[in-house]
Point group: C2
Chain length 544, copies 2
């Protein structure tokens, strides 16, 4: 029977929930979910219309080889034959997220048959220039944003039930009587965001490039701020702890929607698994629910977010309420530390998903060691702020032991870099996490990062997500100039390629890189890419 | 400027409507439209669910080479993985017309991506077995009934905005995460018709075949009875005068929804052109409107319907109200009769669309001559019933002159058949219309029809529509046995090929015949095919 595994899980859950401890945990989770619903964010919506009609062109210098050129004004488009306009692309001039409505009106005296329209929505030009028919990605084809609709009456107005995220909309007439004609007389999006606050301008002296990066990062962030902090409004449209961490850092320096952070923290706590581990991601609708796939680095980052949120807001009441969740993340992960102070990667890898970066070849052992130390330290610091350090009194000894083990076992004195795994892989990730954890002193860390430049075969970051931790590590060890260059080159590189929101994946050498075997399904407005907002505004003396 | 022709037409219309005669005509049309809305029919809806799951098979003996075989019960389908069920076909066991709703539910603990479902609705097995991708028909692709929808939340329930007409529904999963699964947990149609009355059973002694033909014809009729008498609920979904004539004949002997006939008669009158000619077809929504394409035989048949309706119902008030419309149809067509009493086909063909049958090679001159005489005679008869024969006192002389001319010029004494056009084409259509008009006496007509059997190259009927007039003509000249055989062979032939509603086009020698270069867009539940209901019930001594 197909349902057996599900039934077994349910039975185990029901059986286990008979204990009084479980009853208490159930009660706490419902209470946290209720608290989350008390902080439902308000969505601000605004009607936005396309600003011009464009066509795509093959352009080697453009991102993914597809550029756009101005074709005509939208007035012309909305007042002429849809048949003649078939294939044209409406450009909204900016990335928008929301519900799209279009209207059609008959031209001439005859409307003698149903019509069939296809709309393709793209965050980038290539999405509206490339057929989806040969899609062969590992993610659901349904994420691609094309909608075909049949209309049997004129005039008609249609709102797509699906929320869309796009800048470009291609319209195609795929069915119409030869004897009739009609026009697409209007198309707009009711664009939504929960980011509304006016954001302070950067100092006038700030460079053009930094200003531009900041502006695109702000727009990326605001597009991802919906009823939760989403990872990407096109895909997956959901809260992930890793993205949330970078978003809450950027949000604190910009839109300051603390209530949205609190809403997310309570949602996550309310959906924690029976053993207390927080889920790495969740779905809000139809009712809040989370997939059963614990992710170790994200579970730990939850604690880091709690501490950061408390420092940002002083909201002791919320963080005291959620403190038991933080403790659980430590308790459920420390058993993977061997007596020698090193994380048992093999065992961990069996029980957990471990992320750190979209990089098919990254060895994650050293990063995990660093991330655990870093998160445990911050958890202990949080406990101290709350006056609860007695509850986690074992942490200082543990992190010291782990730090010593790391320096003893994962650092190559001769080469001056940290390595990871049996093959002694040298990566940006390992150096960054050894620095952020404090395993690497300022001198060792600074040298390690600089030594990477001289080495061959260094594993580079695969996504903006890891870039955040690398830049943070650079700043921590005083490589401020390197940090600035790195940010300018990486995010500036996206801007040079035409980004008006920052991407989920960017590899300067490969425009088509995709963790899903299909660049079309990549998210091109992705939360974890908003981090320049944080860096530029937290460190104005560096990013100027 | 694209709109110029339309603007010119509008200007002419505005200019012409300045006359007081035009003001009166405008007033009458509004009044008739208002009357139509007073007789809006009631739609009766009923929830219907599929009765089994089938798959299609290649089967030379089946219609269009596609048969269906039982696969499983629907319970299984609705309770198992949609991924596993992708491609399966739900069979509702009967043709239904209405709005379809389906629901989806998650299976298992994970739903980590949007899903994309494609539903294909077919009146026949071949529509759900054949890809629409290579559609190359002359009608809008939009008539084909496939709908693709993206769903981003679980569970969901979706109602297609488009009304559908079908017996079979193929479900395909075209997008889903590899890690998640779901089921289509329900699918139903809210089926509608304005035919509700209980229909009298045929005498128990009636043959099985006639009973079956009657039942399928009744279902065809009831499916086409919506807010108007539609030609076909899949396509074009609208009122046509030719179909209306056959429908009102069948309706009178079955569902007896006289109010629906009246509604249609008023709609047509209310949308008559400025010169008083009635439109051959119209659209109800969003507001009643008609295309500008006058069709001569249909304009004349309007008068025949008025007379028939009056005889059926005794509703003198309605028909007196509409009498001016009938007069206009005569006045606007008689100018095409030359002094010799023959219709000037060339001139007529320039100004009018002339139909009579879906047959690419039919010469229509003689049919038109007959149809005009027939309609003028019935109009005069109608005038007499209303006591208004003085208003059309010229008609008896005109029809006599036309009849004499026809017999003198269109009848081949030697061959004993009527011919048509410069190439002297011999067709069923010409014999039928010469008989119905009374040009052919019982003897001449009977011989003419029988002589067709001996001749080579006779143009046969191309559609059930013309078959109606041929069978009516056979009965008129006493060829009752031939009429019975013809009906049994033709409509029985569709039943032998699996029809559960009768088709728009049926040519025994070619399952793929289509006036639109694509059998997929043919209507397979088509009003003009319902005529056996009329014959079987009006002439029980023949069809027994």
């Amino acid at each position: 029977m197909k349902n057996s595994p599900l039934l077994i899980i349910l039975c185990i859950w029901i059986a286990s929930s008979n204990s009084s401890a479980q009853h208490h945990a159930d009660y706490e989770r419902s209470r946290w979910l209720a608290a989350a619903s008390n902080f439902e964010p308000q969505l601000f919506t605004q009607v936005k219309r396309p600003v011009r009609v464009v066509s795509t062109t093959e352009d080697e210098s453009a991102f993914q080889g597809i550029g756009v050129v101005f074709k005509e004004n939208t007035d012309l488009f909305f007042n002429t034959s849809a048949k003649e306009n078939s294939g044209k692309i409406l450009d909204f001039g900016e990335h928008l997220t929301g519900h799209v409505t279009f209207s059609v009106e008959q031209i001439g005296l005859i409307f003698d048959g149903a019509i069939r329209l296809k709309f393709t929505f793209g965050e980038t030009p290539s999405e509206v220039a490339t057929s989806f028919d040969s899609y062969n990605g590992t993610l659901s084809r349904a994420w691609l944003q094309d909608e075909t609709i049949t209309i049997t009456e004129m005039p008609s107005s249609v709102t797509f039930s699906r929320r869309l995220a796009f800048r470009y909309v291609k319209m195609e007439v795929v069915g119409c009587s030869d004897f009739a004609d009609f026009k697409v007389s209007g198309l707009y999006v009711s664009a939504s965001t929960s980011a509304k606050a006016r954001v302070d301008s950067l100092p006038a002296s700030t460079s053009k490039l930094i200003k531009k990066i900041d502006q695109v990062a702000l727009h990326t962030l605001s597009e991802c701020m919906q009823t939760v902090f989403e990872d990407g409004p096109k895909r997956d449209r959901r809260l992930w702890i890793g993205d949330l961490y970078l978003q809450m850092l950027a949000n604190h320096h910009s839109f300051k929607n603390d209530s949205l952070v609190k809403h997310c923290l309570y949602l996550i706590a309310g959906l924690s698994y029976d053993n207390g581990t927080v889920p790495p991601t969740l779905y809000e609708r139809p009712v809040p629910n989370a997939p059963d796939s614990p992710l170790l680095d994200y579970a730990l980052i939850y604690n880091v977010i709690l501490r950061e949120y408390l420092l940002q807001t002083g909201d002791t009441r919320t963080i005291e309420d959620l403190w038991p969740v933080a403790k659980k993340q430590v308790e459920n992960t420390m058993s993977y530390i061997n007596n020698d102070g090193l994380v048992d990667y093999e065992r961990t890898d069996k029980d957990w998903w471990i992320f750190f970066d979209w990089h098919e070849k990254l060895d994650k052992q050293t990063s995990l060691q660093g991330c655990m130390i870093w998160a445990y330290q911050q958890t202990y610091d949080l406990a101290k702020i709350l006056g609860k350090e007695g509850e986690v009194e074992y942490l200082p000894e543990l992190t010291q032991r782990m730090s010593k083990a790391a320096l003893d076992s994962l650092y190559d004195n001769k080469m001056g870099v940290f390595f990871s795994g049996a093959d002694k892989q040298v990566s940006y990730a390992s150096q960054a996490w050894m620095i952020l954890s404090g395993v690497a002193s300022k001198v060792i860390g600074s040298n390690a990062l600089q030594n990477l430049n001289q080495l061959e075969g260094v594993t580079k970051p695969g996504s903006p997500y890891l870039y955040h931790f690398v830049i943070e590590a650079m700043i921590k060890v005083g490589l401020e100039e390197d940090a600035r260059k790195r940010l300018e080159n990486y995010w500036g590189g996206m801007i040079n390629k035409g980004a008006d929101t920052f991407w989920e994946v960017y590899r300067p050498e490969d425009d088509f890189a995709s963790p899903y075997n299909a660049h079309l399904v990549n998210s091109y407005c992705h939360a974890w890419s908003c981090t320049p907002v944080y860096f530029i505004r937290k460190y104005p003396h560096i990013f100027k």
